[in-house]
Amino acid sequence: MQIRLLRRARGLAALLLALCACQPAAREDAVPTFSRDIAPVVFANCVPCHRAGGPGPFPFTTYDEVVDHAGQIAEVTASRYMPPWQPAADYGRFVGERRLTDAQIDLIARWVEGGTPAGDLTQLPPLPEFSEGWQLGTPDLVVAMDAPYLLPAEGADQFRNFVLPVPGDGPRYIEAVEFQTDNASVIHHAVMMFDRSGAARKHDAREEGPGFDGMVFGQAQGPDGHFLGWTPGKQAYRDPALAWKLEPATDLVVQLHMLPSGRPENVAVRVGFYYADGPPQRTPALLRLGRKDIDIAAGDADYALRDAFTLPVDVDVVGIYPHAHYLGKRMAVYADLPDGRREWLIRIEEWDFNWQDDYRYAEPVALPRGATIVMEYTYDNSAANPLNPHDPPRRIFYGLQSSDEMGDMTMQVVPRNDDDLKTLQQHYARKWVAQEIQGYQTMLLQDSTHAENHHTLAMLYLRTRQSTQAQKHFERCIQLQPDYAEARVNYAIALSAARNIKGAIDQLYAAVSSQPDYADAHFNLAMALFQTGQQAAAKEHFSHAARLRPEMAEAIHRQLQRLQLH
């Protein structure tokens, strides 16, 4: 009964719409036809992905192709599973929104109910044109995988990082990046970062086949103030005003989230770079809000997370990238303005990790100094959440693996000028360190025997001048791993800053004895010995350091001379 009433109401709405549109030809009770009503909606909204060679599973370019899935199309458009677009309407306007109107969804439903009539197929609207190659034309630089990666036929989703060397010629300013693959149907999304440390390359070499597994990038980072992501159906764009610097001789790290298809698949990707004429007029910054002290009890169906940051300067918000894993449920990000108004930045009612994306605002959102950016996420760690990676549910902490949880929101903002950028970065750095401390505390809560995490946490405490805390974690670190020479050297530096030279010397002796070829340890030991008047021993360790690091020899020699002058 209720359903029937609803149908009648829908019929009435259609009638009103038809009257408003004032089209004498359209009868209000007419069943929509493919050629007149459905093709325009499907061609514009579905065909960008559902076409031969596109990332969607079946093409929707002809009447027959669409009819073969008509009932399913009606259902998935009604549920808004398709077209895939997570942000709620009216909570931020974005570039490339893939959202059908209620009227369009109703049209499809009535067409299917009416028996999917073709109409006059000679009157079909033209299919949109898609360029076969690069959307933006031939790139100035293309980096590609040497060999494809063989994705197994089955198994869980895979996260894998591929390291693509960028040739050394530059630096260059980049105004557009385009991601290409021959196998878009198995790639759910891609994130691109850069690594100049060589760490990703080493990691790659340790694992067989192209790339290495995991969601952790190591030391790879996005280009200054930019986030480079790709999802199926995403349109590439040029933005010379916000060009960024591509350093020469760096490694592009492409992280792919891949979904096995039922047969082994070859996966290869190419990334095209488009050069800008010169540096950008304004430099953006990335603001990451979020919490790293996530600790969700098993069974908690409504865990709430909140973070906020008050802007010290005016900014334009250009883009936003909300991020959580499989337990994430609702997301809300807004700014409370000094005049009391609330500016919505994004809202997602039912988060789906598989359709994560970064969004660009149709118009930059201007936020004044004093505006407080707030993020509020909720999580469902109950058995009722089918996406829960653990069955039965377990206590979940912050972590980088997909079975851990995250709660981040990265926002690309453009300050008015370089002074404002500096002010913003200073304010933000304090928040960042506090957030990192939370994260390492949380990770140590799960595994208090992780020496490296104790070391990192100690270093973070040093940055915030909490030396008692720093000392505690250095102690615990070297207790867990006595031969951790780097930790001992950093501990020694902290001790000597606290005027405990004797303690520092003990640590440095331990460091050089566990790692005799560690130049920095010898150098610091020499400095400490010199300060306590042990000239001969100091000299010995200076020369050790100079021998181990010939490129530092001259600097060491100068240091030596300077000290002897005192």
């Binding site: 599973p57 079946f58 027959d64 009819v67 073969d68 899935h69 008509a70 009932g71 399913q72 998935v76 549920s79 599973y81 398709m82 895939p84 036929a153 089955e154 869980a156 149907s185 979904l259 096995p260 298809s261 039922g262 047969r263 499989y326 789906d352 598989n354 359709w355 089918p386 996406l387 990676p389 069955d391």
Partner: protein, 189 residues
Amino acid sequence: MSLRYLIAAALLLAAAGLVLFHDGANAFDLDGRPFDPLATRAAATALIFVGPDCPISNRYAPEIQRLSARYERDGVLFFLVYPDPQLSSASIRQHLAQFAYELPALRDPQHALVDLAEAGATPQAAVFDGAGALVYSGRIDDRYIDFGKQRPTARTHDLDEALQATLAGRRPATARTPAVGCYIADLKE
């Protein structure tokens, strides 16, 4: 009896005109001959409805292949059934090769088997007992909850359980489960 013998026997029965569909609708083997997979009197028969362009259906290919190989030893006959009337035998053969399927495939353009098995989506599994009665129809396992929504691993292996029960002479604990996939009703001639 090995799978090959059973299929040969089935083909002989079909050739002898023992096609059991009541309303005149037929399924066909890939050579275009009418074929009744239930005329074999196997210990149990499993029909797996699949679609070559259906991603969920394809993702189950390794699992379908594994289950069919395991139950072949127990005398269970597995058939892949293609309900899309537009599909040619050649494109079905291509699909079998692409997904390394090693089980017999049938075309069901008139939806004779679809109706018999109460199949609504691809992939969907139906189990018939030795007497040819439908004892299970539904999902292969519960990995998929909805379009685009899948559990990291399946919690219930419904087809597997239905086959075990049938071979043990029991009725499956659950006779019907919902199948998530592409709608067969959309596939008309």
